[in-house]
Amino acid sequence: MSDKEDAAIVEVSKLVKVFRDFWRRPKVRAVDGLDLDIRRGEIFGLLGPNGSGKSTTIKILLGLLHATSGDVLVFGRLPRDVETKARIGYLPEESYLYNYLTPYETLDFYGRLFNLDSGVRAERIDQLLEMTGLRHAARRQVGEFSKGMARRVGLAQALINDPELVILDEPTSGLDPVGCRQVKDLMLALAKRGKTIILSSHLLADVEDVCDRVAILYNGSIRAQGSVNQLLEKRESVRLTMPSLPPDTMKRILELVREKIGKEPEIDHPSMNLEQFFLEVVEKANRTASQQSGATPTDAMAGYLTKE
């Protein structure tokens, strides 16, 4: 990852959130003394099992929930500040779309909330629909869509305002592997442009692929935090990858290693992961396919999101 500026755009200090019942009695302590700083331009992963407080923390950052105690600043302002939200894009855990609107109408509506000019709005909608592979379904009601297609609309609405801070809660949920790869590539492209991304996900492979730093939450508090490489590196062992060698050469190498470490080393053949294999198969099929009713795989990224 390239060097990032050090300015913290999200500052959380001793955050506590207690949900109460109808009678105002404490029910659940969802966040318990959370301390967090997210720097400008980094991709920050929020991990944790179900109920660990990830989505609650995100909603507090957006002013959708009130903190019970603690301090939260986003771009140096309180989360409820309306002007700050113009710089944020949010993809909720579920797509939260109006079922009776079409993708075009949905994006047009959100674009109006950001006071985008009609020309800019139309251009961005066009690019986002192309990017998410929904151009052919632009005039169908969202209520008819599959979960994955609705998710793509959700992603598009999160990016309509070209936000500085993008908060993605389970962005790849419901997406096919092609879509997952596209979302990850998009996050990397946005980060390269200096955008800050907060990614909350259960899919550890996705987080590992893209995040600079992660925090692992459990029971409302952070249990581990740091850069992905630092957290995952196993310094006590080494892996070598090399082309296949003749049996004699391999035998000599193994004997030498066995002599040095005193036990049998692990040997296997490297393999591509299932995602890479899947993408190759779909790419091949896409070249010969004539028509598709669902989302169409596309490498296109909205121009306004990736231009410097």
């Binding site: 949900f19 009130h66 309306v82 113009a86 949010y90 939260y96 609107l101 109006r112 909330l113």
Partner: protein
């Protein structure tokens, strides 16, 4: 300021479109209109009181179906949005909670007003269809206006037909198109029928159409707007079913407030307080003023309008305060 206005219009427009596209909305509207249209068929042989009874029944249907539409729309547009998360999605944008709440009110009010136009037109037509005793140069005796009745019954059918055609050809949503077409056809039928008398002679806008019913419909519309504000405020804390139940309770209590609370308002502080706080729907129910050929004076309409505006503003302030502290789970 311009941004806020644009956001308000966008949100209000979306609310109205979303409400109109829900099948329950067109179902309630068509049901209301059909029931109003059917009144002349079931009210007969009442010693010349058919017109009055049809009129009273139609206005009652206007009120009740308007209550259902307002209550359902408020519950769906706010409490269900909060539950489903679309409210969170919108509030994560640069939109204040107060603006969001007020735009919901504006959008639902637009739908209620549209329904009121349909109901008012249907009421005028239905009253004209009702059997009456005519004593004119060309006609003496009891007669129903069958031509108008036929056109009135055909209006919702035509609206649904056109909506189906538009849906098939242009893939536009059926429900919202049908609602707008319903209003269009009813108003068209009203304007056309007003040009002829009951025997079909050219007599533009004579007593054949009882235009004095319109102020009463306007007062009912005002009451529905107040109900919309109440329903929306309740839905900041309760889900759709409790919202509709509580709205029904407020409606019933308001209808009876003169008798249940008003009688004791002078002697009991609690009754006096409740009498002031509970909306008095009798202020908006003025059908008795039409008896004997009377009408509702303009001064009365203005004072009722003033009451509606003040009351609505107060309820909306309460609603905004409640919504400000509502958590978007």
């Amino acid at each position: 300021m311009m941004l806020r206005i644009k956001q308000f219009l966008a949100l209000a427009g979306l609310t109205a479109v979303e409400a109109l596209r829900q099948p329950i909305c067109i179902l309630l509207a068509v049901s209301g209109v059909v029931l109003i249209a059917a009144l002349p068929l079931v009210i007969m042989h009442t010693f010349g009181e058919d017109g009055k009874q049809v009129r009273d029944g139609a206005l009652a249907f206007h009120f009740v179906f308007g209550l259902f539409i307002a209550g359902h729309a408020a519950g769906t547009m706010l409490s269900r949005e909060m539950k489903s998360g679309t409210a969170s999605a919108v509030l994560s944008k640069p939109v204040s909670r107060e603006l969001f709440f007020l735009s919901k009110f504006a959008g639902i009010t637009a739908v209620v007003v549209l329904f009121s136009v349909c109901a008012a037109a249907a009421t005028l037509l239905s009253e004209r269809v009702a059997e009456k005793f005519y004593f004119t140069s060309g006609l003496t005796g009891y007669m129903t206006d069958n031509q108008t009745g036929t056109m009135l019954v055909c209006a919702p059918l035509a609206a649904c037909f056109v909506a189906a055609l538009v849906n098939y050809r242009f893939k536009r949503p059926f429900a919202s198109t049908a609602f707008v077409m319903l209003m269009f056809f009813l108003v068209l039928v009203l304007l056309v029928c007003g040009l002829f008398d009951v025997t079909g002679r050219w007599m533009p806008y004579d007593i054949g159409v009882q235009w004095r019913i319109l102020p009463v419909s306007l007062l009912i519309t005002m009451a529905l707007v107040v109900l919309t504000a109440i329903a929306l405020t309740i839905s900041t804390r309760f889900e759709m079913v409790p919202t509709m139940v509580l709205c029904g309770a407020v409606f019933l209590l308001g209808l009876m407030s003169d008798y249940v609370l008003g009688r004791y308002a002078g002697s009991s502080r609690l009754c006096g307080f409740l009498y002031a706080v509970v909306p008095n729907w009798q202020n908006f129910w003025t059908v008795d003023a039409l008896a004997g050929g009377g009408s509702v004076p303009l001064k009365y309409i203005l004072s009722a309008g003033y009451y509606a505006v003040i009351y609505t503003a107060g309820i909306l302030c309460l609603g905004m305060l409640s919504f400000r502290h509502t958590e978007m789970k």
